[in-house]
Symmetry: C3
Subunit: 344 residues, 3 copies
């Protein structure tokens, strides 16, 4: 698309060679030739000077140097988003229908306007709500219940009897309802005897939950592992058995929550953090990336480090080397003075 | 089920409204209305006061306040476990049989009483022992050997020529026999030349091993990556090429063992810990959650931190800020005293 | 194979019982009875004394004690590699062809000499280059473009419109093009309202890239998440949306790169390390295992710790306990001296 055409599409005014060809969208710093970019936040204005974008959407009153052509618009943020249907990937639309290769068991309840993709297996007794999209190569085990308007991407597995609410998104490779890690160890006459503890609970996921690729949520020992409404979980996260996650919690990539921990409403667990079992991260608390929580986190507290401590204390700890260096000098100074006094 | 019926099922004596309806099982702290719970460990007695459970299994002589109805039994722990077949998910039974859609290659040896699920692929030359269950959507590559009474969940992949013992459980998404991370780097005239090192070994897994969802075990450069008998590995764990894991080792979620490391009998690697390559974690040693092991861990030692040090030393390190604070005060005190002495 | 036969195969001279049976290959420390091993690096010479290998390939002039039989060769390293076709797993050869069960959509462009395995799905508008191998149970969504001579292992998923170069290897379970983790949060009258931010970009992967099992690469918010030529990524790694990875970068197992971070040419991100969003790891910098990068890493710098600091400073920090111990003694000493002075 030519600069002039893109300008027209966003109701903007082009500035520069109207014949420039634009192929894709990118941020100012990521752009290369042929890309259209945008400047909405003044924080990024400095990137205008050496952006590789061929054209940039800017505010009407923008002033500044740039090698790129400009398109002046009322709201660069909105205008850029409006370009997504043009330059972004063609959206995938799943028309209702069940692929001929899908294997549907006995006693399965299927809602209206479902999509079920190729090579997906839905076992006996499962039920799927209206409007839900289950892509290809998904495995839904016996007696699973899935609500309305959910979207399950390929290679998801949901083990028997687990329950999903409405509008749940499970990305590719998510595993729901795996046995929790539980064994008893006895020392017998011939050495240790390790016995698997039966994991006879389920996973119960609320409404409006989104779970990232290859994340695992273990079923409960008894009862249910719970993921509350509006919880958003990133990729490669581990949720142990019997964990209780309240609504509106966020858990970022590669974090892990050990068995029976509770994460209360509005809490945020950042990437690669770990929460030990049988403790509580209270409402609106945050756990810093890579932190290791070993005791309850109070309401609203932000903890960091391993073991995790309040952020302020953690920051103080980082100053320790400088503090010790200063003390070292003071002590050397004192030693000299004391020596002088002693020899008086 | 009514309270009275549940009481009857566990040979207990109901106390409270016999008509209460019970639907599910949960621990005291996780329970909600309609749940039956139990009190076995006196440690949790305090939770009786505000449990949301509708009924609780308690010992015959239990005394204490609770809003819940009670069922008095001889052994609350056992009685609760006995309720799992009633309230827990209906168990999945895989009757022997091979699904019509399973693709079985040439020269495959199949034992008796096998189950092979829909859309599973078993390639040429593989052999599967008696009584093994291979769920749907599993991919077993050429010449893999699997023992008796194993259970492979959906979306497992086992690469060519790997070997599994008897009674091995691989949960959904486990990948066995991926190429290890190995390259040679040469700086050529036109820049670096990176060459893949062929990974021509296998993975050999002993008897009674259980491996959690989405865990990866890399094949050896030469020879075999080994996972010994009775090893229990949790979800999302990384086992590098040529790692040697002795029997009775436990590895908790998201931990990683780098290439050619040895983990000796009875060692425990806790969650999110990392063990560097080419070193040994000796018998019954433990590596704390998130610890980073950079040198051999002696027999029976418990190490923590990055780099990992003995737990006692690690704990001392945590006291450092307080120690420095004290020193700071002492030094200030000394400075004042020395100043006073100097001005005498 | 007998010792004498193995010796013949590598043009070597056997020393010991010519009738010894050899079954497999292993390093000196990993070997057991029936294994053939090798000694190339003198660093491992001490392992000769108690190796369990039945035979060892050694240099012509090797001298030393060992319970193993010997095979003297010109170059033990090369000779050992030459044994891989004999003792290693039978290589898997994928003859060109499309399995009858593969589901190929409309408007798909297929190159020459392709292999497409059982139960693989390739959706409308996708294109696959010459000589590419796509194993069974792979899911390629609409309009994906894959180059020549790639190899995709089972259970890989590539979401719509993503682009792969030539000679790309994706190991089992890799997920390319998952939605990035992006939401807006507003506090409404009835509590928080969380809205998913549309992720309408793609992932673009260069030539000669290899990505390990169960690794996830998120699609861009707009534009593209980029993985440059010759990038090598290990298992269970997380690459966030809009991340830009330059050519010749290495990322080791379980590391995570947050949204919009840039990793420049030749940088190395070690295992379980984390890089925060919107920052740059500059050329040839290295991030130590488990380090947590919170600000830009300068060219060629090696950083460690959380938050990550230059390795030298990190090493100094490790000496802090000893330094404080020394200071404590000095302060006690000074206190005694000052007391003595005061009482003069």
């Amino acid at each position: 698309m030519k600069l002039s055409e893109v300008a027209k599409a966003v109701n903007g005014v082009p500035e520069g060679d109207a014949g420039i060809e634009l192929h894709a969208m990118a941020s100012l710093s990521e752009a290369r030739e042929g890309d259209v970019s945008f400047l909405a936040n003044p924080k990024y204005a400095a990137q205008m000077k050496d952006t590789k974008a061929s054209a940039v959407l800017v505010a009407k009153d923008y002033e500044g140097e740039t090698p790129a052509a400009l398109i002046r618009v009322d709201d660069p943020n909105k205008a850029f988003a409006a370009l997504a249907p043009i330059f972004g990937p063609k959206p995938v639309i799943r028309e209702p229908g069940i692929h001929a290769t899908a294997v549907i068991g006995e006693g399965v309840t299927l809602g209206k306007d479902l999509y079920i993709g190729p090579y997906t297996v839905i076992e006996d007794g499962a039920s799927i709500g209206d409007g839900t999209v289950i892509e290809g190569q998904v495995f839904i085990a016996q007696n699973v219940s899935i609500g309305k308007n959910c979207h399950l991407y390929p290679q998801v597995n949901i083990r028997e009897s687990c329950v999903l609410g409405d509008r749940v998104i499970l990305h590719a490779g998510v595993k729901i309802g795996t046995d929790g890690y539980g064994y008893t160890v006895e020392i017998g006459a011939q050495g240790p005897v390790i016995t698997k503890v039966p994991q006879v609970g389920i996973v119960e996921i609320g409404n409006d939950v989104e779970i990232g690729s290859n994340t695992c949520v273990d079923r409960a020992r008894f009862g249910r592992t719970r993921v509350g409404d509006c919880v958003k979980i990133d990729n490669l996260v581990q949720i142990g058995h019997n964990v209780q996650i309240a609504p509106f919690v966020g858990i970022i990539a590669q974090a892990g929550i050990a068995g029976s921990a509770k994460i209360e409403t509005g809490a945020l667990i950042w990437s690669q953090a770990g929460v030990s079992g049988h403790l509580t991260v209270h409402e609106r608390a945050q756990v810093a990336p890579q932190a290791g929580v070993k005791e309850d986190v109070p309401e609203g507290e932000y903890v960091a480090g391993t073991p995790a401590i309040p952020k302020r204390k953690f920051a103080e700890g980082l100053l320790l080397p400088r503090l010790v260096e200063k003390l070292k000098k003071k002590v050397a100074d004192l030693e000299a003075k004391v020596k002088a006094l002693e020899s008086r």
